[in-house]
């Protein structure tokens, strides 16, 4: 009896009837856990953002764009909800930890992470003047001097391209992005398979490719004038050149061993590491140049020692103070930073050129006088010697004569 009463009571209860009528899943089950990465990532600390564009470059689905924000007066990432795939690359790439998705930023702080980028930067060792301007502006401190040249650590670079703006020489820091790399790889594959197919056609039974090379060496190849060299710091060892080369390239030692001068390797190199001919240093800042104030200069010659460009700073013979050659100076500002008494400042190039010309002419004049004097004294010494010799011979002859007469 009591049990049936209980059932009756239970069935009539409002909650049960409600449950029976709209049997829906409980809400608690569908609540996401703490780690769930809900799209899009939140911009938690916009005031920390340095507008470097690391998030933009690291996004595999191109969902992030940097857009001007009036409130913070800088560029701030805007994330397209529709494109975001909740991978969290942007959160981990951000150098100042602005973004957050799930708890990734909180839990992965301090863990090692290589930053993916859309466009990569790389320093050309043949053009680099080792001024260290790039090192100063780098927000993540990944540029190091290795004794020969400055090198960007590929894993830590965020691709903000501030180093390119700071670099005084045109095209020293080269960029290559996914699109260029893709095109070059395509071209490489095309060339490679075209070559293989033509080899098959020509010699159906022999696999000796060297024979073909020798046959064609005279007429088809010889497109370029000299054997190309490999710039070590630019090479990313993609082996595109090895794939297309009919000869032999030793990428481990950065040497072209056997060459038929077909020029294919220069075409397929994504970073222009394959190179022929001399490179010219183009200077960005042409109408301004550094000048050394001769009144405040103490003649310590630190600028002369620190300058890495050949023949950019001379020492005047008249004043014993350094002066700058504006035709060769790259305006890197290394001397300006190194000078202990702030004697170096930036002015118009014409002014510097004027001073340079005066000093140079004076120097040359001095040098001419000096060399003339040297020659004169040299001649004097030489003639003196000659006279002495001549005199000796003459005296000897005379003496001999006297001796004969005596006999």
């Amino acid at each position: 009896m009591s049990s049936s009463m209980w059932y009756l009571y239970e069935f009539v209860r409002k909650k049960w009837i409600k449950k029976f009528l709209d049997a829906k899943t409980e809400k608690e089950i569908v609540i996401a856990p703490k780690r769930y990465r809900k799209v899009p990532p939140k911009i938690l600390y916009p005031e920390r953002c340095i507008s470097c564009g690391a998030c933009e470059g690291s996004c595999p689905s191109f969902a992030i764009k940097l857009i001007d924000n009036k409130k913070y007066n800088k560029k701030i990432p805007k994330i397209d909800v529709g494109s975001c795939i909740s991978c969290g690359n942007c959160v981990e790439s951000c150098p100042t930890k602005v973004l957050e998705i799930g708890v990734i930023m909180e839990e992965t702080r301090g863990l090692p992470w290589n930053i993916p980028k859309y466009s990569h930067v790389i320093i050309d060792e043949e053009l680099c003047v080792n001024c260290g301007s790039c090192k100063l502006v780098c927000p993540v401190d990944v540029i190091e001097y290795n004794g020969i040249t400055h090198v960007i650590d590929e894993n830590g670079c965020i691709g903000c391209k501030r180093c390119i703006e700071a670099c005084p020489v045109i095209d020293t820091i080269k960029t290559y992005d996914e699109k260029i790399l893709k095109e070059k790889i395509d071209k490489c594959q095309y060339l490679k398979f075209e070559k293989l197919l033509s080899c098959d056609k020509d010699s159906s039974n022999s696999n000796d490719r060297n024979l073909d090379i020798k046959k064609e060496k005279g007429n088809v190849y010889e497109k370029i004038s000299e054997i190309p060299r490999i710039v070590k710091s630019l090479c990313i060892s993609c082996e595109n050149c090895v794939d297309v080369c009919p000869g032999n390239i030793d990428l481990k030692n950065y040497k072209v061993v056997e060459c038929v001068k077909c020029g294919d390797c220069i075409e397929v190199c994504p970073t222009t590491a394959m190179r022929i001919g001399e490179v010219v240093k183009g200077i960005k800042l042409k109408d301004k140049c550094y000048i050394i104030d001769e009144k405040s200069c103490i003649g310590c010659r630190i600028c002369y020692k620190s300058c890495n460009v050949d023949n950019a700073i001379f020492i005047s013979t008249e004043t014993r103070l350094p002066y700058i050659n504006p035709e060769l100076c790259v305006r890197c500002g290394l001397c300006y930073r190194e000078c202990p008494v702030d004697a170096i400042s930036l002015t118009n190039t014409e002014k510097v050129l004027e001073i340079y010309k005066i000093r140079r002419i004076k120097d040359k004049f001095d040098a001419i006088i000096k060399s003339d004097l040297e020659e004169l004294s040299k001649n004097y010494v030489m003639s003196k010697n000659d006279i002495v010799e001549f005199a000796k011979i003459k005296v000897n002859k005379e003496v001999n004569k006297f001796i004969k007469y005596d006999d």
């Binding site: 590929e154 893709k182 993609c238």
Partner: protein
């Protein structure tokens, strides 16, 4: 000779594929597959990209076995540049990979049960699967495309709370699975639809190079690539296998693999608790090329890639298991009496179309001609 066209959008199919069944009366004589509906050119997109972008693309080769693709990708690069992965990360990889195997096998079982019109069992499987999905979300932060693996380890560490939850859920799952396995093995209707249908023997497996549970159901336990994986060797893994080679054998292999996966997770978690250190190491990638194989839920996944310094992908090749298994489907069709049996056989090889959508190029050894391959 009549042709029954199925797809690309059809109540039976979950993924777009066009099947033309050639029938004589009720008997299926032959079949023709038309694919390319899910071809997105992943390998082509990956060219020139950074490996940390590529790993998300490899994750999206297939949504069901997404984790094992990232693991193979990461392990391939680690093998190439000789990166030592910390112990914690290795065991976490095993835990997540096995959880994914459970979820994949359960969804395969559910689809098979639906195709033999046994909806109750399908719902049981799906219900058990939800707990696994919860665990994966708890560990990695996403249900399907987890983004958990990075080259040199895993992304996040787990804490004591999560370990306790995994143990609890796994114990519940084991009870559920025992029940489901008992029903599957003893249910008379299920056996009627499965036994002696879609039979493939050892010889045909060798001929078609079928992999995964399809091969293991036809007496080929050595096809399991987990036997050759260094971490699984530590866990003393033993593969499950059968020798009947029919539909129900394939499904029972899948069900039993869920049980072994549960044991593997337990062992891996024990070893995880003993080990110490971080979950990620700093990696420095050197250029070169290499390859790696792993056991996905459906069979063997093969990655071959060449990279530049700094980890830009130059060329990548992915081979997925369903490509080989679909070839075996041709031999299974000989023992399918009706059209509906052909459909159940199709679901029993657990095909994954979006895995399969790679361009296959065959080179004839005698003539040297190169032509794209089509399933006919």
């Amino acid at each position: 000779m009549n042709v029954v066209p199925i797809g690309p959008i059809h109540p039976v199919l979950k993924e777009p594929i066009r099947i033309k069944l050639i029938v004589e009366g009720e008997n299926v004589v032959g079949s023709e597959l038309e694919m390319g509906y899910v071809h997105r050119g992943i390998e082509k997109i990956m060219e020139g990209k950074h490996y940390l972008k590529g790993i998300y693309l490899s994750e999206r080769v297939c949504g069901i076995c997404s984790y094992i693709h990232t693991q193979t990708f990461a392990e391939c690069i680690e093998h190439m540049s000789k990166i030592e992965v910390p112990d914690k990360a290795r065991y976490l990889r095993v835990v997540t990979a096995e959880l994914e195997r459970i979820h994949s096998h359960l969804i395969a079982a559910a689809v098979y049960d639906l195709s033999i019109e046994h909806e109750t069992l399908a719902m049981w499987c799906l219900n058990a699967r939800e707990h696994v999905m919860d665990l994966m979300e708890l560990i990695t932060g996403n249900r399907v495309n987890m983004g958990f693996n990075v080259v040199g380890g895993v992304r996040l560490d787990i804490n004591k709370e999560i370990i306790d939850k995994i143990y609890k859920k796994i114990n519940e799952l084991e009870d559920d699975m025992k029940n489901i396995l008992e029903v599957f093995e003893t249910g008379p209707l299920i056996n009627l639809r499965g036994e002696g249908i879609g039979v493939i023997g050892y010889r045909e497996i060798m001929k078609t190079r079928a992999v995964g549970p399809v091969a293991r159901a036809s007496a080929m336990p050595e096809s399991d690539w987990r036997l050759r994986h260094p971490t699984y060797k530590e866990l003393k893994f033993k593969p499950v296998w059968r020798d009947e080679g029919d539909n129900s054998a394939r499904m029972i292999v899948r069900h039993e693999e869920v049980m072994t996966s549960i044991n593997l997770i337990r062992k891996a978690l024990e070893l995880y608790e003993e080990s110490s250190g971080g979950v990620r190491v700093k990696v420095d990638i050197k250029g070169g090329s290499g390859e790696w194989k792993n056991e996905a839920p459906r069979g063997e996944v093969y990655y071959k890639m060449s990279l530049t310094d700094g980890g830009l992908i130059k060329r990548i090749m992915i081979r997925t298991p369903t490509v080989m298994n679909l070839e075996a489907y041709k031999y299974m069709l000989k023992t399918c009496p009706t059209v509906s049996d052909a459909v159940t056989t199709y679901t029993s090889i657990d095909p994954c179309v979006s895995c399969t959508e790679r361009t296959i190029v065959l080179k004839d050894k005698k003539t040297g001609k190169i032509k794209p391959y089509s399933f006919k």
